[in-house]
Subunit: 455 residues, 2 copies
């Protein structure tokens, strides 16, 4: 066996040619999306005005295990993939642990995160369908940036509704999107009916993700030749993100490595669902004995303190109902700098797997997360995104447990992106003024009391 | 011959184990640095109070062609190297050119640029000498960030004097450095004698690189256990940066590719000198027929409009005199967003090679540079640093010439870094308010009239 290098790169030939659809191997399938009016399962026809046709097929397909990556998407992937699986030798030394730590680094592209894996797929299917453009919303900005890049590459129009507070506080994210030719509108805006209504009701509002979703959906359905696309939560997104897990699996196999645990951060579930897909498959089939751990912020603890129930996917309540771990669609997370993890719900796939006991979840407070991020940055030379740093924190905790027990466990975690656009948060941490608000039981109960009643 | 992949990666085993010192193969050696008071060549003893001993040896060594990369530096390199040599298939398609374009991408590390290659080397020698810390200055912030990362890794104290206007306008750069534990001081400051003098004379000043250099040097020589380090211009820096060229050469050889031209941006010369080193060696020896092109901003045209003469290396005139292409140490470049290219002089090595006719130079206006950057970003998916975009602009121009002539030339250029921290500049370009100031002949003559007189 050759020495394990610092970075395990697959060759382009070794890159997976198919996405893997974990739903095909789930014993209990994720519950179907429901029509918010009739409470009946959403059909392809129901979804047609909003989503691209091929993506609807993927969304509803619980049976096909492997789906070919289209050539054009595959070629785009080759601009920034395969991404490295890094052996964290320097972090291991810093921690003094006998554990072997690996991380799959998805930040080596200009969007700065794994979001590009699904953005190019969704943009491709929109282009193939002959559409003129797509609409979406963005909060932290990673998804909007990724979609702008994908649309620029394919010559597709891209309209991004950016939560107004982010639009104003993150001008650099906005400029990257503009450089990629996207039309970026602060939300709420006067370009949609729902936006105008909200502005009238709340003149000074700085917006929310829920409102931006509603505006983006309205813009898509009311503009001929446009559809709406979404960067997380949906089954199709987890399907595209399976490239992360498949590459990780292939890289580990090259060196005959079996993970003892796979750790990822969880917001809507796009990165986690992609990273764990092949490992969960083997675990379900009894072929792999491996802990799978979702890490969420203590300020937005869907798995660890939420309820498994049907809920609205958006605050505006225009989207289908999804059965998921949720804090209630009215839940407003405290200001948390990991913007990508501030979602009240969770992927239906991951929710079902968690409910079935196939994975664990843990929540961590923000200051601890940044402390881990700083230590990681100083030893591994990568400035991590706050979202990713949730996984770093728990991976480090597990490695330190190994230090106590002397166990040489193999820990694999997902490093979803870089923190170049999160330096306001790092500054708060550096200045010692970061807050660690955790919602009270009453707050969560209050929000959960408004869950929709499904017969 | 296998198909050429999108990204040619060397394995860690194939990574060069030695730096290459181009001076050893130069027919006319670069002129020695002179003591600013006596005008005699600087000796090792003269440099001892300012620089680390091992780095002085490298600075003065015009004879040793290959110098072993210390193991600790080599291991650090493995965290982010080998860097990819990318075949720009998508850019070729976008341009419709028969040319084959390759770029060596040095932006895949948190410092965002090639600067880390020399930062870790310089920090290593400081640590090995038993020093407590190092001082430096930074303008655009890439060098300061790289040095902070290297010092954090080695447990060395790092004091950065950051030009005050950058300190205030680039708070994110500052925060990255702080996250890596560096002490960042806006310059001019009251922590040094020269800083206090300048503040007294010019109360409202926002500083300059020249002033920051003077403060950093003073802080180094007046603090026991500290030395001063510099990120460009010096021979030692070009030596460390040769890793870029050596890797590029090895990657090209793997696929039996010979470059017809090698293009790089030129500020102080660190990236260009590193990239071209092995190609220039072969060119000097008559083994390679290849154009080598330096690209500089029209706003700061040292090669194309400067004079080859001894000049002060810093505005404060405390550093040794260097024989180089210079615009005069009093030359104040117009605000140009490629902060890394705003230096009045140029590496003595590159100056000599240019004067001997071994390389060409071209200057390009800023708006054209950003236009090229945008087109590159949209087709290749990487948001380039403004500095790097100078090389992109000329590579694209050459590729378009091939489109006219039908020649299938092989163009290699250096993509030194990413533009994540340059979005104020991109915003100006997006908003159409970017300026293209070019100095008048009178301005340059005025500044050159103050060159020191050497007997």
């Amino acid at each position: 066996m050759a020495d394990i290098p610092y970075k395990i790169y697959l060759t382009e030939d070794e890159m997976p040619r198919e996405w893997y659809n974990l739903r095909a191997d789930m014993i209990n399938k994720p519950a179907p999306l429901l029509n918010p009016d009739t409470h009946q399962p959403m059909t392809a026809a129901d979804l047609e005005p909003v989503f691209c046709s091929e993506l609807i097929k993927q969304e509803l397909d619980n049976d096909t295990a492997y789906i070919k990556i289209p050539d054009e998407v595959y070629n785009f992937y080759k601009m920034y993939r395969p991404s490295p699986l890094v052996r964290a030798y320097c972090l291991e030394k810093e921690l003094g642990t006998p554990a072997k730590i690996y991380y799959k680094f998805e930040g080596n592209n200009t969007s700065g995160s794994h979001k590009l894996n699904s953005a190019i797929a969704q943009a491709y299917y929109a282009k193939k369908q002959g559409l003129k453009g797509v609409t979406t919303e963005t909060g932290a900005g990673q998804w909007g940036t990724a979609l702008s890049m994908a649309c620029a590459y394919l010559g597709l129009d891209c309209r991004v509704y950016m939560v107004k507070v982010s639009y104003e506080q993150k001008p650099f994210r906005r400029e990257v999107m503009r450089t990629y030719g996207a039309n970026v509108t602060p939300s709420p805006s006067d370009t949609t009916e729902i936006g105008r209504k909200i502005l009238e009701a709340h003149p000074g509002t700085t917006g929310s993700l829920g409102c931006a979703i509603s505006e983006a959906v309205e813009a898509a359905v009311s503009t001929p030749g446009y559809r709406y696309v979404l960067g997380s939560v949906l089954n199709q997104v987890l399907l595209h993100q399976s490239i992360i897990g498949l590459e990780t699996e292939a890289a580990l196999k090259k060196y005959d490595i079996k993970p003892d645990m796979v750790i990822g951060c969880a917001g809507g579930g796009s990165n986690l669902g992609g990273l764990i897909a092949p490992f969960m498959r083997d675990k379900i089939k009894g072929k792999l004995d491996c802990r799978i751990i979702a890490v969420e912020p203590a300020s937005c603890p869907s798995f660890t303190r939420g309820r498994f129930a049907y809920d609205f996917a958006d605050t505006g309540r225009v989207c289908p109902l999804a059965k998921m771990y949720t804090l209630g669609s009215d839940f407003i997370p405290a200001p948390n700098h990991a913007g990508g993890l501030r979602y009240h719900g969770m992927s239906t796939v991951l929710s079902q797997l968690y409910d079935d006991g196939h994975m664990e979840a843990v929540s961590v407070p923000q200051t601890e997360v940044f402390k881990a991020a700083e230590r990681f940055a100083r030893s591994e030379g990568i400035l991590p995104a706050p979202e990713s740093s949730h996984a770093i924190k728990v991976a480090m905790d597990e490695a330190l447990k190994c230090k106590e027990t002397g166990e040489e466990k193999t820990i694999v975690f997902g490093l979803t992106g870089t923190g170049y656009f999160d330096l306001v948060a790092y500054q708060k941490y550096n200045d010692g003024v970061m807050d660690d608000y955790v919602p009270t039981d009453e707050e969560i109960e209050q929000s959960l009391s408004k869950l929709p009643v499904i017969d």
